[in-house]
Symmetry: C2
Subunit: 326 residues, 2 copies
Amino acid sequence: MTLNQLRYLVAIADSGLNITLAAERVHATQPGLSRQIKQLEDELGFLLFTRKGRSLTTLTQAGEHVLVHARRLLDEAANIRALAANQRGERKGKLTLVTTHTQARHVLPEAIAATRREFPAVSIRLHPSDEGEILAQLAHGGDDLAVISTSGAVPGAGVAVPLFRWRRVVLVPSGHALARRTRPPGLRELSALPLVSYESSRKPESSLRRAFDKAELPMQLAMTAHDADLIKTYVRAGVGVGILAEMAVSPDESDLRVLEAPAELPECITWAVLPRGRVLRDYALHLLHEIAPQIDSIDLRRVVAGNAEPAWPEPPAWRELHRVPA
Amino acid sequence: MTLNQLRYLVAIADSGLNITLAAERVHATQPGLSRQIKQLEDELGFLLFTRKGRSLTTLTQAGEHVLVHARRLLDEAANIRALAANQRGERKGKLTLVTTHTQARHVLPEAIAATRREFPAVSIRLHPSDEGEILAQLAHGGDDLAVISTSGAVPGAGVAVPLFRWRRVVLVPSGHALARRTRPPGLRELSALPLVSYESSRKPESSLRRAFDKAELPMQLAMTAHDADLIKTYVRAGVGVGILAEMAVSPDESDLRVLEAPAELPECITWAVLPRGRVLRDYALHLLHEIAPQIDSIDLRRVVAGNAEPAWPEPPAWRELHRVPA
DNA sequence: CGCGTTTACGTCGTTCGTAACGATA
DNA sequence: TATCGTTACGAACGACGTAAACGCG
């Protein structure tokens, strides 16, 4: 059993059991992988794959088990290499974020730009994903960091770090009846209007939907989109009243009016979620410090390493953070 | 970075930084280890050890970190090998238990004998240890299984499986005043008498001591010993009244009388504690089934693998288990 | 016939053990 | 001088890539 054999095993599993493809991905030749897998099977004493003719059809049950442990083993190898890179002061590398469009578009840009200024040789990969799939991506997709919002609940997978609190806002065209009002609309008023909001509001567990349910009011979703720009466009077009994250609106949109959302819509929290037990590269820590300066980096390392229990400070409100833009 | 390099690293760390000794333990030559460590240091780009002249003095701080991950990595390698051995139906291997003398002497013998009958080629190593050190041993000593008692609290490290409940008994010479009484002694009565009990009763967190403290009664520990046989001997010699685990007394000790302990002494639970995430060999599961037939082996595997939350059945009382000895 | 896997073969690199050397207490 | 680590050398093994053969759709 060698590190390479295990590396080949997971590469093949991750390439849909196509050895040739796996070989390209690990920068080796196909016969090399075939042989190493065979040798591994010989050493372990059982087949990792079921074969039909010459090609692989599935992993055996035992193979699935081996794969789980092989992944963990290789993760630890990667941890050692990350540790070493930090120790050497290595300033280049990769960083993969998995997050929603809203975070990627309105929350992360400054932080990522600052990190890139500090670490110009780091390649940052932004991996947009659906709300519900992000944590699964983080757990199984090898991403380094997820950024995700919830209305209060602490995300389960990995180490969740609260970044900031935020609220929704109501967006209407400047000619809209609500735009002339001095007081923000109530939930009952919104209930009577067609809404334009995020795709995720369609889900029954969406906090927007739950707020209406709790008040026993109907919710009219006129349309949904993945990102705020589209929502704004359709609000401008008069399709309905926009409900979106406050991070997604800027004060200079003169043809739109931004109103406070009803108090019944709960405050949300944006979290960074880190894979538990993974050694963070210095630049990952730098990025986290950019988006959450209130978090102590030493503590963070300790918690991710499993050597301390999380005890994070109360996250600040987004509008406090951005009251005085530079 | 190879598995062997990491293996050598931990061997050296576990041999007090004596490379020659480490080389013997891993069945290799000393120059081999020296070179591999040097190569590993080259690859990682920093020193793992601080050196004074030619010999190693300490691990560097970075080396300590690498060591942690190297251990986990090798644990996963061991897991894969264990998985393979199970899959092959391999019936030989090693099994190291760490436990107290009482468990080893009075609880485990039947179960171990049964396991040895089923797996004659398995070498079982019994590793007696002090109450307080057992869990540390399990976490760092590479033992497969700990058996330990507490008065209620769930042991923290690893996966704790409740095996059975038990009570203490009071042991007096047949000529003792208490032996003629029909009702068992109360805590207040015992408080007036010199006691002979386990070494661990000296600790402030001992449940015996806490029972006296709670009743605000003094406890007179005339003497303590590690094992029940010694306690019995000194009870026979009239040194004091024995307080010991019910598992440690048999009905055929005609010169001693066994009395119920006061109700104030809480019931205890004996637990098996397993290292979390370690793949269990079939014979380990067999042994566990012998000492805790109420535990479902499939569930147990799942919980140890981290794929399920523990939900163990209420453990039976020792005296129920042994009411009708074969 | 093309795609993907296996088998055969030669080369290269690496690891290992032996043996000699060096430093230290 | 004994102990422990390093350096030097040669042999053996193993992994890799190339090229050809084999099955299957």
